[in-house]
């Protein structure tokens, strides 16, 4: 179990990269595994519910997760998270461009055979 502990609490940033795009008040964030071997980990651990929880303070609406196995990627579509969108938001980043790295801050657990950190 010591191994499991060492591999728990690793930022998603370590195994995946992400890009955010906006349309109106809707954000999409693609999350792509650096290594295809980690795609199952994304499927299992990077759920729509966990992503929604990252944006609870923004009153995010529905979060839909699309799976792209050929690309080793997930695409999250998050409704109502941009506080009105780029033309209405009072925030500095109305596009939500920086929010890809909020998703990458999600903690995941790596398979036990891999060293953490």
């Amino acid at each position: 179990m010591a191994n499991d502990t060492a591999n728990a609490g690793v930022p998603l940033h370590q195994v995946a990269h992400a890009r955010a795009g906006d349309k109106g008040d809707r954000l999409n964030v693609s999350v792509t595994a650096y290594d295809r071997r980690h795609y199952p980990l994304l499927l299992e651990q990077v759920t729509a519910e966990r992503v929604a929880a990252l944006f609870g303070h923004r009153h995010a609406g529905q979060v839909t997760r699309y799976e792209l196995p050929r690309l080793g990627a997930l695409n999250f579509v998050i409704d109502g998270v941009l506080e009105g969108g780029v033309n209405r938001s009072l925030g500095l980043d109305g596009h939500g461009k920086t929010l890809s790295f909020r998703v990458l801050s999600l903690e995941v657990t790596l398979p036990p055979e891999e060293p953490g950190g």
Binding site: R19, N28, L71, L90
Partner: protein
Amino acid sequence: MTEPLLVGGGAGFSGDRVDAPIPVVAALARSGRPAAIIFETLAERTLALAQRARSENPGRGYEPQLEAILAPILAECLAHGIRIVGNFGAANPTAAAAAIHRLAAAAGLPAPRIAVVEGDDLLAVAGRDEIARWTTDADFGDGSGIVAANAYLGAREIAQALAAGAEIVVTGRVADPALVLGPVMAHFGWGWDEWDRLAFGTAAGHLLECGAQVTGGYFADPGMKDVPGLDEVGFPIAEIAGDGSMVITKPDGTGGIVSTATVTEQLLYEIHDPARYLTPDVVLDVTEVEIEAAGRDRVRVTGARGRARPDTLKATVCVSGGFLGEAEISYAGPHAAERARLAAGVVRDRLRTRGFPGRMRFDLIGVASVFGDDGGTYWAGLPQAGEDVRLRLAVNHTDRDWVERATREVLSLYCCGPAGGGGVRQSLTPVFHTGSAYVPRERVQATWRFV
């Protein structure tokens, strides 16, 4: 089989680097192959600003950087038959074409054959009340406040103009990928109901429309995703073959990187349902797309699928949203965050007491500049520390006087606020609120003509 078409991406937004297209054009010229370069310079609010500029001066209303973008490359494009396609016409494609003619004349070039694509301006064909009824995701009342309403046109008129011999095609609002699909359709002569082929050209357009975002721009993360030469990042070139495969690459000698990872990020950029990306020409499905390395800075993309185009055209509708007022003040050293929080409370209380009617928000730059929320719950939940922080107020209201009065509450913190505040900056920006409308195709008459 028809030989491949090379298409370069010359701009990903209004404000992109104007020297980046130069090596792209040089590479296209060296190739000796049929080629085009596209420029995407229209954001959602750009058209509202352009409409306003045109109403103040009938000779304006096109991309302000147009001359800066084209001056370094126009002669070489014309000399080598590299077609230029751009939505830099914004609210006034005819005026943009006139500006290009002036640019060519000033450079001593023969007059280029320039075509303009028109018909995206819905205010020319529909009443504001009707446009307001088409708008589904925002309530614009009777529509009287609508400043601009533009449908996203497809690629057909661009393709027709190119097939008729246009060297330069100037558009207003078209779907971004149509800037590439137009040259692709003109080159290969495919049918407008060959959905997989339309999807293929649309996918190429989607990959090119954001410039460097497919060649290492907007990608670097030191130690995780390193990008060499980001200061001179090369803009993309797609080698588009008639068999439905394309290679994304970039000019030799430029910075940046083209890898399966950069292409994957851009393929999914601003995509919602990957099986149903709606464009005026086709519904694009990228779920079967394969992205594979094909040499240094070369990535092959295949497998785009298409289905019949939607029955309606999407339009962006802009209404005046009043003014955004912003003001900032810094606190540093011991207790900096505590003093900034006190300052926020002072400003909030004064605005509330005086009945400020607009929306307001505070950020604490250095603690939470972008992840926060209007209600301040994110900021409140963080450790209240910070040795160098900057309090930011943002307000929005239709009444300019109220917005200025609100931002002055940050200025007056100099003498009336907590200790040690400094570096106040204030700004006021006109705001346009936007919504999306879905317009019956028969209400939109897209046309093209030489000018």
